[in-house]
């Protein structure tokens, strides 16, 4: 399900035009991004939390060339699903 399909399904549920849904979705995304950049944790109830985590710098060694590279620290967005969502997923059968 890509962005378009998501908007379509949402518009269908809300019975609202897709354009409005798209604008709203964009607003939410930009709001969340801003909050994350400010190093804030966003928790959506019954869904999960978005959080910025710092990955410390590390030394990586290339397995074949043995070149050691210093990887600088970086900030990444981490999502942790809520227990409610987890329970919902438990019912899903494993297909493979």
């Amino acid at each position: 399900m890509n962005n378009k399909e998501l908007i379509a399904s949402m518009a269908n549920k809300m019975k609202a035009p897709k354009a409005v849904v798209a604008v709203l979705l964009e607003t939410i995304v930009s709001t969340c991004t801003e909050l994350l950049v400010e190093d804030k944790t966003i928790g959506f109830q019954s869904f999960g939390t978005f959080e910025v985590r710092k990955k410390e710098e590390r030394l990586s060694v290339h397995p074949s060339t043995q070149i050691r590279t210093l990887i600088p620290p970086k900030l990444v967005v981490n999502f942790k699903q809520s227990n409610i969502l987890k329970d919902k997923l438990k019912d899903m059968p494993h297909h493979e």
Partner: protein
């Protein structure tokens, strides 16, 4: 964790105010959004939200574990987990404080390569020195091989022997260090042949630059020294009386040097002029000696002369008009045998030939050095080599064609020298000038106040398109920044207006220059 946690309610408020919709509508929208995502996920799909990220399910395999309290083995069943992969837009925005950092290769190979290259460049002149030294060595051994023949026969052979010794002494110094050799030669020259050389050099010197001067001084001793010896050594064999020698030598050399410039035409005259007084003296001496000791000196001379005759015969002397003329013009003396005279005239021809060579060499060097005002150390080496070539030619007695050969030979190494010894200058183009000129920052396009997390590199990236050019911002704000790595928060940084060619990202030299500056500033 002092992270502020934002609940869905706050998000709803923010979205409502931003999109200017009612909170109720925003709340409903959010709920629908989450429901849709869940729905998509539950359908086993990957849900993508533009410029935010993708949600997808990940299957975690069942695994065994132990109950920490009871130590019982338990089986954790497999389950699905929602994973979120942030979109690149979100990633970059979040990671902005660390965006300027790049992975650093600790055992980087290119750096080492550069070092080796530098060392190679530094060794290059030395290598050329040693190469030329071996070349000279080979030449000298050739000379020795050639000069070995006459040594065994005559007292005159002392002359080649001596020169050889000298040559050897030079040779000994050469491999060690060519500079030393040059010095030693200069010293010897100063001691031995100053007067004469001065005369010779005077002709050439006024036109020369300093370096040329040196070269000639180095070349001269090599040639004039043996010449000197010849004069001094040839004399005793001729005159047999030591008292006469000093008186004789002086005028001779002077005459020779007076005549030197117009060498080719005046040879017969010179020889004649020189010979007459000399012969007179000689004859007088001989008469005296005969008076005192009637037979002995003449007898002593005979084998010697014969030997010389032999030697001369062995050597192929090109039939020279002057020579033959000389021999025919020689005054007939009743006291001495013909052999004696021919021997003496031969000796004088020797001297004249040597002088010819010297002057030819001098002319060659002069013509060689005149057109090119740029010189370097290596020309000295070659000149010396050439000189020894001449000396070797002198022993094998190829008198006439030699000077022109020398001139031609000296010209050849010139190109080679220029080729391998002139340091490679980078083409001085406008870009290089741009780099070399001190940068003056008068125009400023903006100013920034340092915040937490702000880096010069980030500013540079924003204004110039590459973080490499931060050095120029630093240069423009040097008086405010003590350490470019730690700029106090609140510092006002002025962004200079730079020549677009200086920060041309498509020109690798601009980036290279900036990196060089970076290495200078970050120590």
């Amino acid at each position: 964790m002092n992270k502020e946690k934002i609940s869905s309610q706050e998000i709803i408020d923010l979205v409502a105010s931003k999109a200017s919709v009612s909170k109720r509508a925003a709340e409903e929208f959010l709920k629908v959004m989450i429901a849709s995502v869940e729905e998509g996920l539950l359908a086993g799909e990957v849900v993508k939200i533009k410029s935010f990220g993708t949600f997808k399910l990940q299957w975690n395999e069942p695994r065994k574990s132990v109950n920490v309290q009871t130590g019982e083995e338990i089986l954790i069943t497999g389950y699905y987990k929602v994973v979120f992969i942030p979109d690149s837009v979100l990633k970059e925005q979040v990671n902005e404080p660390f965006a300027h950092l790049e992975p650093v290769e600790l055992d980087s190979i290119p750096q080492k390569k550069e070092l080796i290259d530098e060392v190679d460049d530094a060794l290059d002149p030395l290598r050329i020195f040693t190469e030329q030294a071996t070349e000279i060595k080979n030449l000298l051994s050739e000379i020795q091989a050639i000069s070995a023949k006459p040594i065994s026969i005559t007292p005159e052979s002392q002359q080649p022997a001596d020169t050889r010794q000298e040559v050897e002494s030079i040779q000994e110094v050469q491999p060690a260090e060519t500079k030393k050799e040059v010095e030693s030669i200069q010293e010897v020259q100063a001691a031995e042949t100053k007067e004469e050389e001065d005369k010779i050099i005077q002709d050439v010197q006024p036109f020369d630059t300093k370096l040329e001067d040196e070269t000639i001084q180095e070349v001269q001793p090599a040639v004039t020294k043996p010449e000197d010896e010849i004069t001094t050594k040839v004399q005793p064999s001729e005159t047999t009386k030591p008292e006469v020698q000093p008186a004789e030598i002086k005028p001779e050399t002077e005459i020779i040097h007076e005549i030197q410039p117009p060498v080719t035409e005046t040879i017969p005259d010179v020889v004649e002029n020189v010979q007459t007084p000399d012969e007179k003296l000689h004859y007088e001496n001989l008469l005296n000696s005969i008076d005192k000791k009637p037979k002995e000196p003449v007898i002593l001379q005979e084998p010697l002369e014969n030997n010389i005759e032999k030697e001369v015969e062995i050597k192929p002397i090109p039939s020279d008009k002057n020579e033959s003329q000389l021999i025919s013009d020689l005054p007939v003396t009743p006291y001495l045998e013909n052999v004696n005279r021919t021997k003496r005239s031969k000796a004088w021809i020797w001297i004249v030939v040597v002088l010819l060579l010297v002057s030819g060499l001098g002319a060659g060097i002069y013509f060689y050095f005149n057109p090119t005002s740029e010189l370097n150390i290596f020309t000295e080496n070659i000149s010396i080599t050439e000189t020894f070539k001449t000396v070797s030619g002198w022993f094998t007695s190829k008198p006439k064609p030699k000077p022109t050969q020398v001139a031609a030979k000296v010209v050849i190494p010139k190109d080679k020298n220029e080729y391998d010894s002139i340091p490679q200058h980078q083409p001085v183009d406008s870009t290089q000038l741009l780099f070399d000129n001190p940068r003056v920052f008068n125009d400023f396009i903006a100013s920034e106040r340092m915040k937490a997390g702000t880096r010069l590199t980030i500013i540079s990236k924003r204004y110039y398109g590459s973080k490499d050019f931060w050095v120029y911002i630093y240069e423009a704000n040097k008086e405010r920044i003590s350490n470019p790595d730690h700029i106090p928060i609140g510092t006002l940084i002025r962004i200079p207006k730079l020549n677009p060619r200086l920060i041309d990202l498509s020109n690798p030299r601009c980036v290279e220059k900036a990196k060089q500056l970076h290495d200078i500033y970050v120590k």
